[in-house]
């Protein structure tokens, strides 16, 4: 259906010039239609957008803005905030637990990202070889993902303490035990999830490509390195992103497994921030400042990672 010429409005509001109206390109017609539909829909803003917008403002936007502001204030509740400049941020440096938590989290993140992705990719490779029972294995490996962090923490506390008992130790004996306990836990939880994503990626590699490489005489290792890996790069991007942010932001598992014991030595950043807020009165401002730094770290890491692996992706 053609619209009357008067309706040919560009998105910027100007009427189309007569010349292009004459030609009546497909594009012109489409643009005309869009504005008509837009007009009809536009009035329904309160129905379509407002509920989400209000909830979003309460649940995210307002707390975020206030959070940034409060990091420069001294306060115990939101209403008694007094502006104090950067003093919260300088106080962080006098708090040695934050530095420790940062390095502990960084080490944990690196170890777990590498382990989870290597394991998940290896399992995905093997499970795409059409071996018997693939579906059962996939089901089993994925299951821990649905169990919450708190529950997982206590499950592994039982198991790991049981094993360490043979050596007369417990998980909270030193932060090293807590560290590796947490690594094992996170691998157990997330390998299945990443495996599912890798399997989907591997199955998307066109069969002809692998076939062609085979005919050209490529060894299985060469096929893996030069065909499969470049083709599943999008999955690798997604999986490293997910594992990176999940590990860096880990909270529930940390709380349930060791709760930072012994004496805050196995405390990760998220737990450290939580304890600063709710464990020390008068330090709420410092907690908020830590949270801002934490946010900047997460943002930088996720953007940098995305850039880095996206570059390696090949056009399909």
């Amino acid at each position: 259906m053609l619209c009357p010429p008067s309706r040919y409005k560009l998105p910027c509001g100007h009427i189309r010039c007569p010349k292009s109206m004459d030609t009546r390109t497909l594009e012109g017609i489409k643009k005309g239609r869009v504005t008509i539909m837009e007009k009809a829909i536009k009035k329904y803003f309160p129905v379509f957008v407002l509920p989400t917008l209000i909830a979003f403002s309460i649940g995210f936007f307002a707390p975020f803005i206030m959070g940034v502001y409060l990091s420069f204030c001294k306060f115990t509740t939101v209403t008694d905030a007094k502006f104090t400049g950067l003093s919260n941020y300088t106080k962080i440096f006098s708090d040695s637990t934050f530095g420790h938590a940062f390095w502990y989290t960084a080490a944990f993140t690196i170890v777990s990202v590498v382990l989870i992705n290597v394991l998940a990719f290896a399992v995905a490779l093997l499970l795409t070889r059409k071996i018997r029972g693939t579906n059962v294995f996939r089901t089993v490996f994925f299951m821990p993902n649905l169990i919450g962090g708190i529950i997982l923490g206590y499950i592994w506390q039982l198991l790991l303490n049981g094993i360490l008992l043979q050596f007369g130790r417990t998980l909270t004996y030193s932060s090293t035990y807590g560290f590796w306990g947490l690594v094992i836990l996170i691998c157990w939880q997330q390998v299945g999830y990443m495996m599912i994503i890798y399997i989907a990626g591997i199955q998307n590699v066109p069969g002809e490509l692998v076939e062609a490489a085979k005919i050209d005489g490529a060894s299985p290792v060469q096929i893996l390195k030069n065909v499969t890996l470049p083709m599943v790069m999008p999955s690798i991007t997604v999986c490293t992103f997910l594992t990176l942010t999940n590990s860096f932001k880990l909270f529930d598992q940390n709380l349930a497994l060791t709760a930072g014991e012994p004496s805050k030595m196995s405390e990760m950043l998220a737990l450290n921030i939580y304890n600063t807020f709710y464990g020390r009165t008068g330090w709420e401002g410092v907690g908020q400042a830590k949270a801002v730094i934490f946010f900047v770290l997460v943002a930088v890491i996720s953007i940098a990672q995305n850039r880095l692996t996206r570059v390696k992706e090949v056009q399909q």
Binding site: F45, F56, F60, L127, G133, I147, L158, T245, A291, F294
Partner: protein, 279 residues
């Protein structure tokens, strides 16, 4: 060559079967210990609950009593289902609108949603809990609104990605036939979005069901507890834990998840894959 391949595949099946058993071992261990007397759980975790160690269902009864298990389960279910339904409905409508109507406000909403996805919860947790208190949202109903707000980022982003792929002609045809935008949305657009709805529902449900910190900070804990909170509260003061009750509650908390997973496995795995491709 062929027999060689089938032999390695057979070997792989055996190896993976062994690994699978080990993979399930932690859960089986909890199940095993849930029938054991409190004192023996930390002393002899790997022993079978036989003889004087066996306590029948005492741990379960004890755990249910101590945590108010069924109440916590009910609230968790209510919050999860309520939030997922509200999120799906509201954010999909919002996503359709901001993709179809192009102006500064809608693109601002889109980018803020995108931005919210990389903000960790710790950044907003203190202010969010205070705001929720001030607005009297410390109830499960209020929590649903908070979840809508905090979960909107990912959901709007995913729905927007899908709406862009819906051909305009379909909606236009509906409009020409005299549908209002609301009718167009519910009769035409929403049914097309069903696969994305399932993906979003699964990702959100997995997160909300297991969430610990947000309900802990927002809810009035004396009146309402979710499962994660109830379990964490078993760790009483001074770090002492009633291991018996803990094991019982852990098993009770895991069983529904496993049943749900086995029933909806296909959707869950598809949802995860679809979510990953878009995210």
């Amino acid at each position: 060559m062929n027999t060689n391949k089938s032999r390695t595949n057979g070997l792989l099946t055996v190896i993976f079967s062994v690994i699978s058993v080990f993979y399930m071992f932690p859960i089986l261990l909890v199940l095993l210990n849930s029938f054991k007397k409190k004192a023996y759980i930390s002393k002899r975790p790997f022993a079978l609950p036989t003889g004087k160690m066996f306590v029948q269902l005492d741990n379960y009864v004890n755990g249910i009593k101590k945590t108010g298990f069924f109440e916590a389960f009910g609230w968790t279910l209510f919050i999860t289902v309520g939030s997922v339904v509200v999120i799906i409905l509201c954010t999909s409508m919002c996503a359709w609108y901001i993709t179809r109507v192009k102006n500064r406000l809608t693109s601002a909403i889109y980018y803020v949603c995108l931005f919210s996805m990389i903000v960790p919860f710790q950044m907003v947790m203190f202010t969010l809990s205070k705001i929720a208190n001030m607005l009297h949202l410390s109830t499960p109903w209020g929590l649903i609104i908070i979840y809508l707000g905090f979960g909107a980022g990912l959901a709007v982003f995913m729905f927007c990605g899908f709406v862009k792929s819906i051909p305009l002609e379909i909606e236009e045809a509906a409009m020409i036939d005299g549908c209002t935008p609301i009718q167009t949305y519910f009769r035409v657009v929403f049914p097309i979005m069903k696969p994305t709805c399932i993906t979003v529902a699964i990702l959100q449900a997995m997160w909300i069901w297991n969430d610990y910190l947000l309900p802990l900070l927002v809810l009035d804990i004396k009146k309402y507890k979710t499962l994660s909170i109830a379990i964490q509260y078993l760790r009483g003061g001074y770090g002492s834990i009633d291991m018996g009750a803990m094991m019982g509650v852990l098993v009770l908390a895991i069983i529904p998840i496993i049943i749900f997973y086995l029933a909806c496995q296909k959707y869950i795995i598809e949802g995860v894959v679809a979510g990953a491709v878009k995210g």
